[in-house]
Symmetry: C2
Subunit: 357 residues, 2 copies
């Protein structure tokens, strides 16, 4: 059955939500943060350190446990940071304003290693798909049709894959070292100490106990709704509008400005989601439409960054024309993924709007 | 108001259509053929001949009148040839089987010049669009925002444009020479003589006057319906299915085999359309859905050939990586146009099917 809970934090018929909910949520996330941190240390993510792992390749730098621990760490850091933002007026201003950039630094540093790995996987998968290996069963000569054998790739596609592998694996290794360094830094220890304090005592303002959280959660929902309203959703709902590739060949090497509002909505959707979790507590029902919209925006971000990585690889000096050609096809393919993700978001969001009305 | 006439040649309630309709249609098309040929000669398309025009550029080889005369010539040649095919049993077999390949040769030869010009225009337009010049009004500094100033193109896009311009203009010039040569050949004069005979006397079989054309027209409609049923329309109706680019990087340089069934439907749709014209006579109502489906298939063909031209330009020896990259983006863009055209066809065809049922 589809969930009907859509924007419950703004539901005017529900009773007030007090600062106890905020304190409870922050304490739980802080506890989760500390647990993940302990797990991350125990699973030996720091073993060897940057020098010994400098040449580590995709999939080798960190066990599955340490990867999942790092993910859990980022997950709780984002939730703490998001709640500090949404419910700012209830929290000690100096403390919360000092904490947020530190949490952002931490989760950003931890996220990069994973992001480079995922980007490489996405791009290599697309190269295989574009070589017609993964989807045409008639081309599969043996039992092992997927993943595609490298022999099906053209020289250009194979070289493009090797170049991306080199560049993104290097970036990933560097990100891994940076993450390990960060986790050993005094800056990190200060963040961990702050979170440890948060796990036992949330620094609320004197007025907090008398404050209803609902208007603040509603404001987060409104910021999301306003940002979505500013998106070009009519265009996005028109399949094959060819908008995402409009700057595919522009001289500008910076990230595409047309992506920014979508990235912004992604962040606001996340804040809204965390606010919902906080307001509902353990009973927070899954909102499948919110989930679909969020997944579309993640895909949007991933494809945009993959497209940009392909374009940037194509600027490597002295590459063969065939390599550059394959990277051009790959760039355009990922920009179309961007467009497809916008379409998917529009479809998911439209459904939600209809249900809400 | 939307036209409700969808598949009238198969309408069982209408009266029989006799061979008079076929003879009248063929005579009219033959007359039109001869008129266009006269006009083509009078507008001086043959002036100068191949040597003098060898370096003619896009838009210079032939006046607007001679271009429209050539188009009218092709148009009637296609209609004669199509009718000979659909209503074969009513026509003298030797004569009609001898005539069809000659008409195909003629309209193919005449079509090539136009096709190369249109392909170049499509590709240069796409390069401008991909450089973000034509669609972003904020980038337009002056009053003349369209067509985009060359200054907005990257070096790669500009070089790719220049390369395509060189290659397709050369091909176009050669096609122009070949067309002029064809129009002066004894082979052409033999075709023109046959058409002149057709304009006065259609070589029907003795049994033709007693034959009802409707089953033959219905068979043409059935061939179309069957071919459409074999298309992957479920996939095509799913926006952003990413199927058209599946061989975007495959080693095969031949036209994409996945396009062939769509090209075949395009031809069958045309035969069905000509049969409708013939059955209705001058009263033939416009079927907007058939029109939309046909336009989508034309777009499909044009984009497929443009994508192939971009891929083939990228195989030019010694091009710069930036040029190859731009051609890769362009290739992928046109393959997405192919996918978009399939979606458009699916949408148009679905509408038609619903109305017919």
């Amino acid at each position: 059955m589809a969930q009907q809970h859509l924007d419950p934090p703004t539901d005017p018929t529900a009773g007030p939500v007090t600062s106890d909910a905020l304190a409870g949520y922050l304490r739980a996330q802080a506890t989760e943060f500390l647990r993940s941190l302990r797990q991350h240390r125990e699973t030996g993510a720091g073993d060897g350190g940057p020098p010994g792992r400098a040449k580590s390749r995709l999939g080798e730098s960190g066990s599955a446990e340490s990867v999942s621990a790092a993910r859990a760490l980022r997950r709780s850091a984002r939730r703490i940071s998001g709640s500090l933002h949404t419910f700012r007026p209830l929290l000690d201003a100096d403390w919360s304003e000092g904490m947020r950039p530190e949490l952002a630094w931490l989760s950003g540093t931890l996220a990069r290693e994973h992001a480079y790995g995922a980007r490489l996987e996405r791009l290599l998968g697309a190269l295989n798909r574009l070589s017609g290996s993964a989807t045409l069963p008639s081309q599969a000569s043996g039992a092992n049709a997927h993943p595609a054998p490298k022999g099906n790739l053209t020289v250009g596609a194979a070289k493009a894959g090797a170049l991306l592998d080199r560049q993104l694996t290097l970036a990933r290794t560097r990100a891994h070292s940076a993450a390990l360094q960060a986790l050993g830094s005094s800056r990190f220890h200060a963040v961990a100490d702050s979170v440890a304090v948060l796990a036992s005592e949330v620094p609320l303002t004197p007025a907090a106990p008398a404050t209803d959280l609902r208007p603040l959660a509603a404001a987060a929902a409104d910021r999301l709704t306003d940002a979505v309203a500013a998106l070009p959703l009519v265009t996005a709902g028109h399949p094959y509008n060819a908008q995402a590739l409009v700057h595919g060949l522009s001289a500008d090497t910076a990230p595409q400005p047309q992506d920014a509002p979508w990235h912004q909505v992604r962040l606001l959707l996340r804040l809204h989601r965390y606010a919902r979790e906080l307001m509902y507590g353990d009973e927070c029902p899954t909102d499948v439409r919110l989930l679909a919209a969020g997944q579309a925006l993640n895909r949007h971000r991933d494809a945009a960054e993959a497209a940009s990585a392909a374009a940037s690889a194509a600027r490597t000096p002295r590459i063969a024309p065939a390599t550059a050609y394959a990277l051009g096809v790959l760039h355009a393919d990922q920009r179309h993924e961007v467009e497809a993700a916008r379409f998917a978001f529009q479809q998911a969001w439209q459904k939600e709007a209809v249900r809400t009305l």
